[in-house]
Subunit: 162 residues, 2 copies
Amino acid sequence: MKQSPLHIRPATESDVADILRLVKELAEFEKLRDQVLADESAYLKYGFGAQPKFHALMAEWENTGAVGFALYFFNFSTFVGKPGLYLEDIYVLPAYRGKGIGKELLRELAAIALENDCGRMEWSVLDWNEDAIGFYKSFGAVLLHDWKICRLTSDKFNNLLK
Amino acid sequence: MKQSPLHIRPATESDVADILRLVKELAEFEKLRDQVLADESAYLKYGFGAQPKFHALMAEWENTGAVGFALYFFNFSTFVGKPGLYLEDIYVLPAYRGKGIGKELLRELAAIALENDCGRMEWSVLDWNEDAIGFYKSFGAVLLHDWKICRLTSDKFNNLLK
């Protein structure tokens, strides 16, 4: 029986360069490349310390290395009364799409969510990204059309603190 | 000098009944009361164990007790390379609005975000809640109109796992 060329595993400290490379490609695709200020040291500090702020899965392809990743953390729903898994980023290199890699990453995330008693998984999608939206709906995800995300960047914190 | 009748402090285990009462009132206001499945034991378990999944601030009014609260956790921005503070819920009882309680809760949250090196604060708002949106914009928050929240509830996890 042929072994799958895809291998999904939890990220380690030695993956931060690959994560940053994939985050930059994702940002490029989202037309948000100018918003990427992160460097490898930030991922090391916040992802792999005593109290990690995030977790990640790497998708590796035989003889190629990292071709995709998913980065997530746990949140909490006061309504459900359970933690949730929030998927911050999921990305597969264009040349490796159509091979089920995104679905395998999501399958692994659902298993992690189940293990951690999560009431739901959530993530955000750009409204023009119809391919992604169709994919997400295909396995039962719903879009919350009446909710808007509000953001206050740190340069505005002083508007509250003054 | 007169002391303020408002006192804001971190929640403790003894606040879970007040938190649940305020969450239910918030859900009523959001026309989502049927979505509240949580009980006090869920808040105790996930908010006050060894690795709490959330934190909360209580707003108390002199001789009245809890009249508002804010519930939050930390997330992570791969673009900014820093943690963020995500505000899951903020609520003030209708009879206590217009006294600056919401603003004081947000001021305290901004201080916590600053202490924890957060690059931003984020939260969600219902698109018909114009009073809240106007308030949030007044101190510099922006609405991310092109992002939609996707949700996969746990009853659908099997669509990925099968």
